[in-house]
């Protein structure tokens, strides 16, 4: 038998046959490692999770026409959208604005892809239904009040087809209020209809003023997309909605530093717990240490034997912790963000390494004190 085998046999026997003592230390390490790997998993998953949450607050990117007068067409929009990873694209809503006359009043009308608007603006609250048929519209709350319109009302809307007021006004069409739009914002001043209705009534197709996009990506990724589109589709001037992207990254930074802080505190607590347990273990085993010394054990071998036990505990605790940590992260993710997370395999070695390091550090002082045991004193009969 080699010395290394005997070393392993001794330290595993100590851990296995003295279970109850070492269980406390193991538990501390496993809990520490669980929190560590759990929080780190969440730490890396939070941007994705929060990104999805933030998409509820509306578009975070818009396309404008690159030159002032020009409007762009759907094909250009498609080329711009193609630059964005389809997986990350939550919704695209193109908008075209025209003035209509209702009850002799000029009202701003927006033609859009209603499904796209629903996806990019999940916060829109509709009193009634989303339009589903031709000539059905959403009326903003303010405009509805101004015109005295309610859900289900039918009204006549007329267009001026040219620039001049005197141009022949068409006879207008009867449109139906499918729902009243409440957002608390400027959207309440508008009238929303499908793009096809608008193109039919206002003439001219494929003339868009602005496109709203909701993209589930970090602030940095969005910036990359912005540059990419700017470079590849010169007709589009992409802009990030700073209000949304910046508050998103601020919240993320705060959340991540919180996770970081909690992890650090937990690691320190683990270290204190392991150090306390190891100190108790060394005190409890003074006789054994004295005996080993009387048999000729050098300080170095005493240190290595106790360190060996500590590091083995650290390793086992780390393995336990990374398994439990994933379960913990999964639990948090499902309950807080209602979505599951993907396992980060790289986290296993990292967790084990950190547990071993933390345990090793925690063992330093107790193990040093083990070498100070005087065999003549502890082996004396009582």
């Amino acid at each position: 038998m080699t010395k290394r085998k005997m070393f392993l046999r001794m330290i595993t026997a100590s851990l296995v046959r003295r279970r109850s003592r070492m269980l406390v230390a193991l538990l501390a390490i496993a809990v520490g490692a669980t929190i560590l790997s759990g929080l780190v998993t969440i730490y890396y998953d939070v941007p994705r999770q929060m990104g999805a949450q933030f998409r509820n607050y509306g578009a975070n990117m818009i396309f404008l026409a690159a030159s002032n007068e020009a409007r762009f067409d759907l094909d250009t929009v498609r080329r711009g959208v193609a630059c964005i990873d389809a997986e990350e694209l939550v919704g695209v809503a193109p908008y075209r604005y025209e003035t209509v006359r209702i009850h002799e009043q000029p009202i701003l009308a927006a033609g859009t892809d209603l499904d796209g608007a629903k996806a990019t603006s999940p916060y829109w609250h509709i009193d009634g239904e989303w339009p589903s048929a031709r000539y059905e519209v959403l009326v903003g709350q303010e405009t509805a009040e101004f015109l005295g319109l309610k859900t289900g009302d039918v009204f006549n809307a007329t267009w001026s087809s040219g620039e001049e007021e005197e141009d022949v006004l068409n006879l207008g069409v009867d449109m139906k209020v499918a729902g009243i739009l409440e957002t608390g914002g400027s959207e309440e001043e508008y009238l929303y209809m499908s793009l096809s209705d608008m193109e039919e009534l206002a003439g001219e197709t494929e003339k868009l003023d602005v496109v709203e996009l909701s993209v589930s990506a970090s602030a940095d990724e969005l910036k990359a997309y912005e540059q990419d589109i700017e470079a590849n589709v010169p007709d589009i001037a992409p802009r990030l909605v700073k209000r949304v992207t910046e508050s998103e990254s601020t919240v993320l930074t705060k959340l991540q530093s919180l996770v970081f802080l909690v992890t650090a505190v937990v690691l320190v607590l683990t270290m204190i717990c392991v150090a306390t347990t190891m100190t108790a273990v060394v005190t409890e085993r003074r006789k054994e240490i004295g005996l080993r010394k009387s048999l000729g054990a050098s300080d170095g071998s005493i240190i290595w034997e106790f360190m060996g036990e500590g590091l083995l505990l650290g390793g086992v605790g780390g393995i336990l912790g990374s398994i439990l940590g994933f379960a913990f992260a999964q639990f948090v993710s499902v309950h807080v963000f209602s979505s599951s997370i993907t396992y980060q395999p790289a986290l296993l070695p990292v967790t084990i390494l950190v547990s071993v390091l933390v345990t090793g550090l925690a063992c330093l002082l107790p193990v040093r004190s083990a070498t100070e045991v005087d065999p003549a004193l502890v082996l004396k009969g009582e």
Partner: protein, 225 residues
């Protein structure tokens, strides 16, 4: 040249002279019993011979080399290489089996060798208890494991402090028989004891009182086994 020589050693704790100018020499193969009342300095002397402690003054020669001024580190090395210790309280590692306890001594000395450790246990009549933990062994059996451990590295000198202090008559006799066999094989033995019966079987008896040797005599009744 004698194996062990104490030249005017004293051990002083505060104003207590645990050992007071003691001189003694022990030859290779000798079996010496150290007797005396409690507090007379027997254990103190054993600790100094066993390199677990240093005298306040005087010289300790082991193999002609003065060890009284050695560093703790080299004392550890001398313990490992030359000395076999047997204690009254056995002192086995409680989570290791009998054979593993013997192997611990091999581990620090040179190479663990399970076969050799088993043979050592066989010599003290414990072949069938090798895989037992100390808690599963009787006091006598535990002491025999200690003896096997003390002998495994062929030490130049075996020191036993009250080896039968915690044993009953039957186990005491087993241990004494082992000692007789060791003596026959040429091992140098120094045994501290209160027990006249244990003292009697030795070749030579030294009596301590108040840290001084008051009697040093060969045992008339001693017979080689």
């Amino acid at each position: 040249m004698s194996l062990l020589e104490l030249n005017n050693i004293s051990k002083i704790y505060g104003d207590l002279k645990a050992l007071d100018n003691v001189s003694l020499s022990v030859d290779t193969g000798e079996w010496v019993a150290i007797m005396g009342p409690s507090g007379s300095g027997k254990s103190t002397m054993m600790n100094i011979i066993g390199c677990m402690d240093k005298p306040t003054s005087g010289a300790v020669l082991l193999d002609g080399k003065d060890i009284s001024k050695e560093s703790a580190k080299s004392l550890t090395a001398i313990r490992r290489d030359k000395i076999g210790l047997i204690f009254q309280q056995f002192h086995l590692v409680n989570y290791l089996t009998a054979v593993e306890n013997v192997m611990v001594a091999q581990y620090y000395h040179s190479m663990p060798d399970e076969k050799e450790a088993l043979e050592a246990l066989e010599r003290v009549g414990l072949a069938d208890r090798a895989k037992h933990l100390p808690s599963q062994l009787s006091g006598g059996e535990q002491q025999r494991v200690c003896i096997a451990r003390a002998l495994i590295n062929y030490p130049e000198i075996v020191l036993a402090d009250e080896p039968t202090g915690n044993l009953d008559e039957a186990n005491e006799n087993i241990v004494l028989d082992i000692f007789k066999q060791l003596h026959k094989d040429g091992t140098t033995l120094v045994v501290v004891t209160h027990d006249p019966e244990v003292g009697e079987v030795a070749q030579r008896t030294i009596t301590l009182e108040h840290g001084r040797i008051v009697k040093d005599a060969l045992n008339a009744n001693f017979k080689e086994a």
